[in-house]
């Protein structure tokens, strides 16, 4: 693991406080800096302002849903790697996510090790 990875800044846009908290706890264990936004609008603002190495984005968000938010950022030229999280594994979401420019996709309930592996892969591929 590189030093840069250990310093990685991760934005988690997730409205469920329990999920947000477990993500924060789990990712902080790896030494990553985690910031939480709990709706689409504040998530968009944080994403625009901050310089993040990766964005973990829930699909079902109040304000603006994750797929629309991702598409919006991509349209503005933002290339930050995006990991979509959803509690729905319907293909429609996966396809919509890919179209919106998401780089990876995990279905809840995900396995912690899978989450770590996915984030490491996205960080390495930047």
């Amino acid at each position: 693991m590189t030093t840069y990875e250990q310093d990685a800044r991760i934005l988690v846009i997730e409205d469920d406080p329990a999920i947000a908290s477990v993500l924060q706890r789990g990712l902080a264990l790896k030494g990553w800096q985690v910031e939480i936004a709990d709706d689409g609008v504040s998530g968009a603002a944080a994403w625009e302002d901050g310089l993040y190495d990766i964005v973990i984005l829930d699909v079902m968000l109040p304000g603006m849903n994750g797929i629309d938010l991702c598409a919006l950022r991509r349209a503005e030229g933002d290339r930050t790697p995006v990991l979509l999280l959803t509690a729905r594994d319907e293909d429609a979401y996966r396809i919509q996510g890919e179209k919106a420019g998401a780089d990876a996709y995990l279905t809840k309930p995900f396995v912690y090790q899978d989450l770590l592996r996915t984030i490491e892969r996205l960080l390495a591929a930047r």
């Binding site: 293909d91 809840k108 309930p109 912690y112």
Partner: protein, 495 residues
């Protein structure tokens, strides 16, 4: 959430169609009766009219002719009386008398059915008696003028009698004619009455028919409205169910993510090994995984019931696919403390949904491993004949009681409840396997080996008919409520 109240539809009343049958039958019967009555009436009225015409024309005419003949005879007798018995006068008288006899004879062809009326024979006797008296009397004109006069007077008296007899026949004719006309009138009255009754009957039947038709139309309207209402309710219920599935998916997965995630993060903490926390956390992870599995199974069945679980059928090389399935089955059996014995013989391609079919096979393998003794062999075998694919999973477990064999593919069915609970699983694996196999137009069956253990076999066409059509036209999106084209019984769409 809208509460769907299912009201049983009101069954249609059976009465209207009975009334229709009765009314149509009645109408037909009325037509037959009316036809028969009209025919009988026509024949009867015709006969009565004929009889009346016969009596009126023939009898009256004959009587009139007879009276003319009597007057003729009287006329020529008087000519002889005033002009003397000349040769011409006598010839004319004789001719008139012969005509009278002819007229009397002619009366024989007419039936004079009445007492007190002279019959032709009586008239003949009267005529002959007249002639016997007058004709010799005429010869006395020169020799015995008083005798001639007496014969003349007596002859006139006999002619008056004949004329009266003829008048009586004439009256009889008139009487018979009027009686026949009365018969005609009566027959007409009867015919009118029968016709009125028939028309009344037919009208009643027609009214009943119209009423029944209105009733039937009313019932049909009610049924149509009920059907429409039912369809709307069903659509609403399906929408509600679809939304519920989506909501349940989200609501169940989120807490499971938190539960499992926290336990896994806990395990990753440096202090995890202290005070036995690691074992506790591992158990939480294991149970959360089991619960996730159950949630996925339930969602799969709910989606397939709602016609939302889609098969993605594609051309698949069976050999590498089976090798992959066997590799996963190997891990699964090892985790269960059993060992896999693969015996895979299928080298062709097939149009299948590889992920779903793998899910079905692994459900069978998992089930077999669960009931295998420690270290027991689970045999995974496959073969094709170019048209169909067979995949069989057999174990050396205790077998399935004969009574349970037909039930093992039912949802939540678990033969030995205690053992099943201990081994985990809610009894959905085989049911899901059946749902997937049936969506491939295949069959799944189970049998016990004679030497112990069970074999479950999947048999499916390599090119299911629905998959052929699915290959030609793109399928509906997963959210569409388009009717399923295949696996309709299983509720899975083929895409």
């Amino acid at each position: 959430m809208e509460r769907a109240v299912i009201r049983p539809p009101r069954p249609p009343r059976a009465q209207p169609w009975r009334i229709i049958v009765l009314a149509v039958g009645g109408l037909l019967a009325a037509i037959v009766v009316a036809g028969a009555a009209m025919l009988a009436i026509t024949l009867n009225v015709g006969a009565v009219t004929d009889r009346a015409l016969h009596n009126d024309i023939v009898l009256e005419d004959e009587a009139d002719d007879l009276r003319v003949a009597v007057l003729d005879v009287r006329h020529f007798q008087r000519n002889v009386f005033f002009g003397g018995p000349s040769r011409t006068g006598l010839q004319e008288f004789e001719s008139a008398y012969l005509r009278l006899l002819e007229r009397i004879d002619s009366l024989r062809s007419v039936q004079i059915a009445a007492a007190g009326v002279a019959q032709p024979d009586d008239l003949l006797r009267m005529a002959e008696a007249y002639y016997a008296e007058i004709r010799p009397g005429m010869d006395l004109y020169v020799t015995d003028r008083p005798g001639f006069d007496r014969a003349h007077e007596a002859g006139l008296a006999r002619l008056v009698e004949l004329d009266r007899a003829a008048q009586a026949i004439d009256r009889q004719g008139e009487a018979q004619a009027s009686a026949a006309l009365r018969d005609v009138e009566q027959a007409n009255d009867t015919a009118t009455l029968i016709l009125v009754m028939v028309i009344a009957g037919a009208s009643t039947a027609g009214l009943a028919l119209a009423w029944a038709a209105l009733r039937v139309l009313g019932e049909l309207r009610v049924l149509s409205a009920q059907q429409q209402e039912g369809r709307i309710r069903l659509e609403a219920a399906l929408r509600t169910k679809t939304e519920f599935i989506a909501d349940a998916s989200h609501e169940l997965r989120t807490p499971l993510t938190v539960l499992r995630g926290n336990a896994e993060v806990g395990l990753a903490l440096p202090s995890a090994g202290e005070c036995g926390h690691e074992d506790i956390l591992r158990e939480i992870v294991r149970e959360a995984a089991r619960m996730s599995h159950l949630v996925e199974d339930l969602l799969f069945l709910a989606r397939s019931d709602a016609g939302q679980a889609a098969l993605e059928v594609r051309e698949t090389a069976l050999e590498p696919w089976l090798a992959d399935v066997a590799a996963r089955a190997e891990i699964l059996t090892r985790e269960r403390g059993a060992r896999l014995e693969p015996e895979l013989r299928a080298t062709t391609n097939g149009r299948i949904d590889p992920e779903r079919l793998e899910q079905a096979v692994l459900a069978l393998v998992d089930n077999a491993a669960k009931f295998s003794p420690a270290g027991g062999a689970v045999r995974l075998s496959s073969r094709t004949d170019g048209q169909r694919l067979w995949i069989a999973v057999s174990d050396h477990g205790p077998g399935i009681p004969a009574a349970d064999l037909p039930l093992i593919f039912e949802r939540f069915h678990r033969g030995d409840k205690t053992r099943a609970r201990r081994s985990g699983g809610a009894g959905l694996g085989l049911s899901i396997a059946r749902t997937i196999v049936e969506a491939h137009d295949g069959q799944i069956s189970a049998r016990n080996h004679s030497g112990g253990g069970t074999e479950v076999t999947i048999e499916l066409p390599l090119v299911p008919p629905a998959a052929v059509s699915a290959g030609r036209t793109p399928g509906p999106p997963p959210t569409s409520d388009t009717a399923t084209r295949a696996g309709a019984s299983a509720g899975i769409q083929v895409r």
